[in-house]
Symmetry: C2
Subunit: 231 residues, 2 copies
């Protein structure tokens, strides 16, 4: 078991990964500065949708690998948040509405026609990670949610200011994450500090969070590159 | 796509697998005839608990492999049924209470000390099947629930008649399955008939259900054998 000091250092090291979070990516900075065209925002939303629609499968893979009922009982809420419990509900639906607010159809998001290879590889790597790595590492990889509320708050302000042509209800997903992400991050942090007791396990958790930062960063690389060609 | 006649034949072939269901196993017949000792019932319950506690992970593996939100929204209820949403809830908890009613402690069920190798292999094979086979086949493998309500009704009558020393609340799991199993089987049958359109997919679904019958049957083989040695 880790001492209290070791746990504090571990949490600090996890939080320090924020320096690798995708809010610092040039494409993301351009987005929040109001410098993206409608077409670039569409490319971003359509590609990011591939990430969104795979989240429930990633989280179900964690459930499938987790032997603790009390962890599963809370983790399952993430799946419900994304899928909803009925038509018209859930984060995936909210993202489809964001796409519509940006001028995309549900069909062109749903059939993944705009998804570029780099995004597909990154998202698939994330799902495979959750399937194949120890469940505690997969939980740790979700800890980018520690950094998400700040990003979401900044994004909401930026979108309302710079892209007033986007209908406000289209931004509902970002708003929902302002409360969901802290709740999810708190639980994930509890789990990781409780179940990663050895130095090797803590190193594994840090590497998992670093990997996840790479997933998000490389998605923006691929999206930015595809837009640069005017595709 | 299958014709209506082909679908009817497919459903009939699935239902016909009932001839391979574990209610016909000699150990199961002996149980319902009141011929088992307290010790044999304990062995059965402790081993069967290994199956119960793995069900949420099996169902989460199906969620992880299923690309359809509307299927996931219903399938996730199975996980909630087994795990519950809070301490003291759910099918796994109900099975622990059954074990207590039979004279087992939670500790000896929870640490799997009574689980015999044949049961472990069979249950692990079932979870691996759900992880690695097409999600539609994993859904088809759950269709033993078509046969479960009859078994549960018969078991309830038999236990109340032959084993009156078991506290009635200990039988709550069996009672809950009288309503859950038909609901679950109906959904699984809808999914399998909707998504197994080709002859190869229907053959895969039939093989999956046959495999699942083997899982349940071989568990009873192993439990019976372990009891025969007086272990």
């Amino acid at each position: 078991m880790a001492t209290a000091t070791e746990t504090d250092e571990f949490v600090a090291a996890l939080r320090a990964q924020s320096r690798r979070y995708h809010d610092r990516h040039p494409f993301h900075r351009a987005m929040n500065a109001g410098a993206l065209t409608r077409r670039q925002l569409q490319a971003w939303a359509a590609n990011r949708f591939y990430y969104q629609e795979n989240l429930p499968r990633k989280d179900a893979a964690i459930l499938a690998n987790c032997p603790h009922r009390e962890v599963r009982r809370r983790w399952i809420l993430r799946i419900v948040d994304q899928d909803g419990t009925a038509d018209g509900e859930g984060g995936i639906e909210a993202w489809l509405r964001l796409g519509e607010a940006l001028g995309l159809t549900r069909e062109e998001m749903g059939d993944d026609r705009h998804v570029v290879p780099g995004v597909r590889f990154a998202v698939d790597a994330y799902v495979t990670f959750a399937r194949t790595r120890p469940w505690t590492e997969a939980v740790a990889s979700s800890l980018t949610e520690l950094f998400a509320p700040d990003l979401m708050a900044e994004r909401l302000t930026a979108f309302e200011r710079h892209y007033p042509w986007i209908d406000r209800p289209g931004l509902a997903y970002f708003r929902s994450r302002l409360t969901q992400a802290p709740r999810d991050a708190e639980h994930a942090l509890e789990v990781v500090t409780a179940y990663c007791g050895s130095p090797a396990e803590r190193a594994g958790a840090l590497a998992a969070l670093s990997f996840k930062c790479d997933v998000l960063w490389s998605m923006l690389d691929a999206i930015e590159r595809s837009c640069a060609d005017g595709r």
